[in-house]
Amino acid sequence: MNYKSDVLIIGAGGAGLTAALHAKESGASVRVLTKEYPTRSQTCMAQGGMNAALANVSEDSVEAHIANTLKSAHGEADEEAVRFMCSEAINAVEWLDSIGVCFSRTADSKIAQRTLGGASAPRACYAQDYTGLKILHTIYDRCLSQDIEILNEKYLLDILKDESGVVKGAKVLDIRSGDIEIYEASAVILASGGYSRIYDKNSTNSTASTGDGIAAASRAGAKLIDMEFVQFHPTALKNSSILISESARGEGGYLLNSKGKRFTNELAPRDVVSRAINDEINKGEEIFLDIRHLGEELINEGLPQERKLAKLYENVDPVHELIPVRPVAHYTMGGIEVDNKSKTSLDGLYACGECANHRVHGANRLGGNSLLEIVVFGKEAGLNAAKYALETKNAQSELVLEDGFFEEIKECKNEIDFYAKREHVGNMFYKDVGIVRTQEQLKSALLEVKELQASLNLMGVSDKSKVYNTNLVEFIEFKNMLEVCEQVVSSAIKREVSCGAHYIV
């Protein structure tokens, strides 16, 4: 079957849905595909907030927001892009407010703001403990009101081009039926999220953050940049890697080692705190977050989810006990290279959100800047892709269809268990391409990734049914992850000096 639209969007998180709304508003026909359901996208997990220099709580300025962002980026951001994002932040929050996002309010009826790490003022707008959830669901509701077509459980396999190399569509697996479908479009926007799940269980991310879109873009010939910049969050629950929000330390929580001693400034930037914890762990210490002194009332009021998750996953009640924590992969700054119009290095292909690299985070993202990025650049991607699609829609060209990636995968034999390998890669990456890296570690990791890629033909699926085959989907994800792994290690090897999240000794 063959489906056509002006703009095809892959991914229905905050970035994809924002792009859809703006593309549609520009007069283009729009179709959105997601491998899950839109509201299940990882965007729903963001708790902390979204930055905008509204100065609602205390003095602040767009210039200060720009300065903080550039400082955190360690010289690796594009100043023009950062300027644009920070200046647009106020409009972005106003827009969200106007479609019904219930941001928390101050006593004088303004949008409330809190301070996240690295910000010189309380700048993050939030909706209680559920900022991402409420933003994502409201944008989704808005898409329904505009009758935007969203197709669920459709998995992007490959990006398709015409004879002249212009992107014209996508090859997709319908997870439910097991059929392959071809979607044609005059412009394609990738909004498929980040790749922190290459660290497997050592990541706070949704299990869907496997870098599929990045791998597909790279196979199609798009350029990726800064793939080595992976942000580790200092405090995830030790066994489950579930995030314990920075606000726990913001409220006054301490980090302690097994001897009950504090060993770092808890409010230093994420990379510094993560390294301090990593050093302690290497010395054989266990690390705990102590919030007991904050008191039950404050914990229930300000950190209710944290208390619930610590009880559920670590069997500790943070009101009375220490929370075992460790740093894990949290956000991926690298991704598909785009210009200030969200266009990739391929004609017809646009990207936004965590899969794209607009060079606004550089080597280290500030808390609260990602939700901002997805709304600001989601809009840009939508507008620019729609404009391009409407200009080029009458050009005659034929999609090139050839067997590739998926057909190869179906031929793989099932002799080696890829679930075990997936776990192994995650642990190996955590150790060798983690918080602190050496050239030797990186080189051996690259070798291992290449070996695994060479034996993929022996790792196929054991489930042979067509309908809703998650064994197959997970295997395709694993292949994508290995491609992303290769890019991460290769670019890490090329960057010989430490920079932000890439710390080399």
């Binding site: 299940r40 997990m45 479609i99 019904g100 219930c102 928390s104 009101s145 998650t470």
Partner: protein, 234 residues
């Protein structure tokens, strides 16, 4: 520990040598170690994405928010067609948000919300669209056209929002297969992992509807306050 999982028409028992884990961790263990063919959905692992909703011992639970016990029996959600194993097709349930027009219709210019306005629909906006309520709802079971608990909660969320200036059209839209079809049985409230009471929201929508001159259709014609199936509807 033994747990049984309903898969198509079979109940399959799995033996796990693990203790003190969430049901989702147990399912992941089965999937990657015992049986690669088991199908289920998950995402966040932290109860916010709504993917892992299923029935445990005949009650709706989020697998990532439930500590699995020896002897538990697991099955997919009800009232939606099963695609495979524990995966159901939620498209029709999701569609109710569209049919109920659960969005901000028309922005009132220049209103600002205060702290109380924020609290007014805070709970309603915590919904994670897990569909547990649709699985539990006896009306949705017999009438697939019923707008259903989460969609009506969402309508209330927007109706109660001071920024909405077109409240009436939102109320008009939930009259048929909507607020009056609910039996107020409260099943949805009992299973909601986010402590939302759709029943209470539906009652509030009924009160608003009465304000616009609508009344309970079954009450009008029957004079007795009983719905077509004999269950009380007041």
């Amino acid at each position: 520990m033994k747990i049984s999982i309903k898969r198509e028409d079979n109940i399959i028992k799995y033996e796990l040598d693990l203790k003190d884990i969430t049901l989702l961790e147990a399912l992941n263990y089965i999937k990657s170690n015992l049986d690669n063919t088991l199908a289920f959905s998950s995402g966040c692992r932290s109860s916010v994405c709504g993917s892992c909703s299923m029935r445990v011992n005949e009650r709706e639970e989020l697998a990532c928010n439930y500590k699995v016990q020896d002897g538990d029996s697991i099955e997919p959600l009800k009232n939606m067609s099963v695609i495979r194993d524990l995966v159901v097709d939620m498209d029709s349930a999701y569609k109710t948000n569209f049919k109920a027009k659960a969005w901000l219709n028309k922005l009132t210019q220049g209103v600002s919300l205060n702290h109380d306005d924020e609290k007014r629909n805070e709970v309603q906006s915590d919904c994670i669209l897990c569909s547990a309520c649709y699985s539990a709802c006896p009306v949705y079971a017999v009438n697939g056209e019923f707008l259903g608990p989460f969609a009506l909660t969402r309508v209330w969320k927007y109706v109660s929002d001071k920024r909405e200036s077109d409240e009436k059209s939102k109320i008009d839209n939930v009259q048929s297969n909507g607020v009056w079809d609910c039996t107020l049985c409260n099943e949805c409230t009992l299973v909601c992992p986010q402590d939302i009471s759709s029943k209470a929201d539906i009652e509030k929508l009924r009160a608003k509807s009465a304000g616009y001159g609508y009344m309970d259709p079954s009450f009008g014609s029957f004079g007795g306050g009983f719905g077509f199936d004999g269950s009380p509807s007041f």
